[in-house]
Amino acid sequence: MKLLEPGETLDGFEVKANLHSGGMAHIYQVQYANGAPDPGFRMAMKVPRMATGDGAENIVGFEVEAQILQALSGPHVPRFVAAGDLTRVPYLVMEYIEGKPLQHWLDEARESRVRPSPETIARLGEAVASAVHSLHRQNVVHQDLKPANVMIRPGKDGIGGGVLLDFGLSYHGHYPDLLAEELRKAIGSPVWMAPEQVVGVRGDPRSDIFAVGVMLYELATGELPFGEPQTAGGLRQRMWMQPKPPRAWRSDIPPWLQEIILRCLEPEAAKRYPSAAHLALDLADPSLVKISDRAHEMQGASLGTHIKRWFKAAGMEYKPSPLPMEQIDQVPIVMVALPYKDVTDATLYSLRVAVNRALGSRPGARLACVTVISPSETSSTDAERSEGRVHSHHLERQKQWVRGVDLDGRQVSHHVLEAGDVAGAIIEYARGNHVTVIVMGAATHGLKLQAFKPTIPIKVAMEAPCTVILVKQELPFAQLSEVEA
């Protein structure tokens, strides 16, 4: 379709400015033509260059994007406004996202010849990973994440929440995949494409984690882990080849960042982060990163390793993916709220039993222990009650408690939060860290007031963004104490 000029209207929308003319589509800033006020945000219109008559297959990506955008919600995708009839006037009107594409940080680093700090990279990465997780929870896999498709909203130090754009190659678990064909072929952008995408697997959320890894790698090193392959053979390299470790490019990259990046870039999806929530958790607090050998590597894998992987990759076959939501449900982040007063051994024991049950036999599950203390517990004048001391006391209690949990190699982290509103702090932590299930005592956190007002467990159960397990203390303990008395 020809370029629209400012002032022209299309299906009730008036073009204000041409924002971008890409290879596939023009993007305009638009407003309602009848003078109606904007819907509370600025609007952008995307019009494909190809008209329907030019061959329907060229417009499939546009059709996919229109379908998927209408099915998505939340702060990490542009809000949908309108879609034109594909056979008449194909267009898509959506929220115009204020902010900068991730590409901006890459361009800035190239021009200034200064790489972004590890902390900046982690914050950008966390914003992107959180957005990606939100997408996966809606049963969508993006399949084409790259620095031009990821927007960062304005925020503290210029980094706010992440917003994902361009769903033309995306996969929705509840919709027929219009991009599929009997002979599976690679669909995606060669630089960021995951190995399984190369052999035509669609719908695996871990493919998006690989793409995030490629972006983090470039942010950290200024290089692309697998270059820009031009041939099918070049594309297949990533199925067995480990990229040059980031620290081999720049020795000042901290081991934790290399660990995160290389874990995202594992050729086998099962060896990557099991969900974007797990990745976001590590990026939010690098001290949680479980450092392995790969954090310290200064050169790539040996020839022997590559040959072994090559044989493994040669046998890689297409397997249909289960629904994205079902996949991430298998790798829950379990949060346990450990009370620090009014708590009996019986309750602590029962919490442990419940946590073991919630972790189940899932190897990818992860545990976060959280204690919320009152701000009055710490003091800036009394050294005995200094923040550091009080926190380390509670962390030590958590570590003792967790010894009875059957972790079996699964990752655990410890957190002490200070807040007057305990329920609010628990809910906020759960929301901010994409917690899958909260385990807490049914009668802890304000036991004495139980009869008079909604207690903390009730508030958490009502407002939490996830499942809440309220644990009752096991009977034998209660009987035991009665006998003693």
Binding site: T52, A56, E57, V60, E63, Q67, L86, T87, G173, H174, Y175, P176, D177, L178, L179, A180, E181, E182, L183, L323
Partner: protein, 252 residues
């Protein structure tokens, strides 16, 4: 128009009523019954009565292989499951009901929507559509009837599946999630098997049907819980083979 598509009711009155109520609650404005009203189940006469009343009020009804069999049961029933209940069903139906079944059409077309019991490819031969190839043959036959056919809906195979054109030449198979409204825009061609109301066979007890919102171009496959124990009890009370009763609780 919101078109409720129900097929393979198989004389299961409890499942049929549950699906009708669900479709009405979801705002169905037109009903279509894609054949096999009878066979296997204990209540052929009440089911056919309801369908005849709805047909008089404008519902579309097609003939299925079990309906044909109940009108003309084989003189000597073979061991085939379908034939075992045909004579019994025949005896349950009134002359008027049998005539109604016997005169049902094999196809119904409404605009770009084509309905059939099994496959549009020789509908009287009841070909099974259980893969992309079978769906493709049905679709090819449909476009020979009218080039502008976009949606072909059938039953017969007792499972819910959507077939569509991907990037390749043949039709691809998509297993729907019950309750999800799937966009099925009319610039593409679609074939759907909508499942069985009265005899689910995918290991779940819930009755199956589908709702096609033609204006929004969305297709929703539905599963509806019903009193399968009562349906099984009715089969036992009628003296029909235990197998037909027992399979309802297993959804097999």
């Amino acid at each position: 128009m919101k078109l409720a598509l129900l097929s393979d009711i198989h004389a299961n009155l409890q499942a049929f009523d549950a699906c009708l109520a669900d479709a009405r609650a979801r705002g169905a404005t037109q009903f279509a019954f894609l054949g096999d009203l009878v066979g296997y189940g204990a209540d052929p006469a009440p089911v056919v009565d309801r369908v005849m009343a709805m047909a008089a009020a404008g519902a579309w009804v097609l003939k299925g292989n079990h309906d044909a069999l109940a009108c003309h049961p084989p003189a000597v029933a073979s061991d085939a499951l379908g034939e075992m209940t045909a004579s019994w069903t025949h005896a349950q139906l009134s002359e008027a009901q049998r005539r109604f079944l016997d005169e049902l059409p094999l196809l119904h077309r409404d605009g770009s929507t084509l309905l059939v019991h099994a496959s549009v490819d020789s509908p009287e031969r009841w070909h099974y559509v259980h893969d992309g190839r079978g769906a493709g043959e049905s679709l090819t036959a449909a476009t020979e009837i009218a080039a502008d056919i976009r949606h072909v809906f059938g039953g017969h195979v007792h499972r819910q599946m959507l077939y569509y054109q991907g990037q390749g030449r043949g039709l691809l198979e998509f297993a729907p999630t019950p309750g999800a409204a799937i966009p099925v825009p009319a610039h593409r061609r679609w074939v759907a098997t909508i499942g069985s109301v009265g005899q689910p066979r995918d290991g779940r007890q819930e009755a199956m049907y589908a709702l096609f919102d033609r204006d929004a171009a969305k297709l929703t496959f539905a599963r509806v819980a019903y009193d399968h124990a009562a349906a099984a009890a009715a089969i036992r009370a009628a003296g029909l083979p235990e197998f037909f009763a027992e399979r309802l609780s297993r959804g097999q």
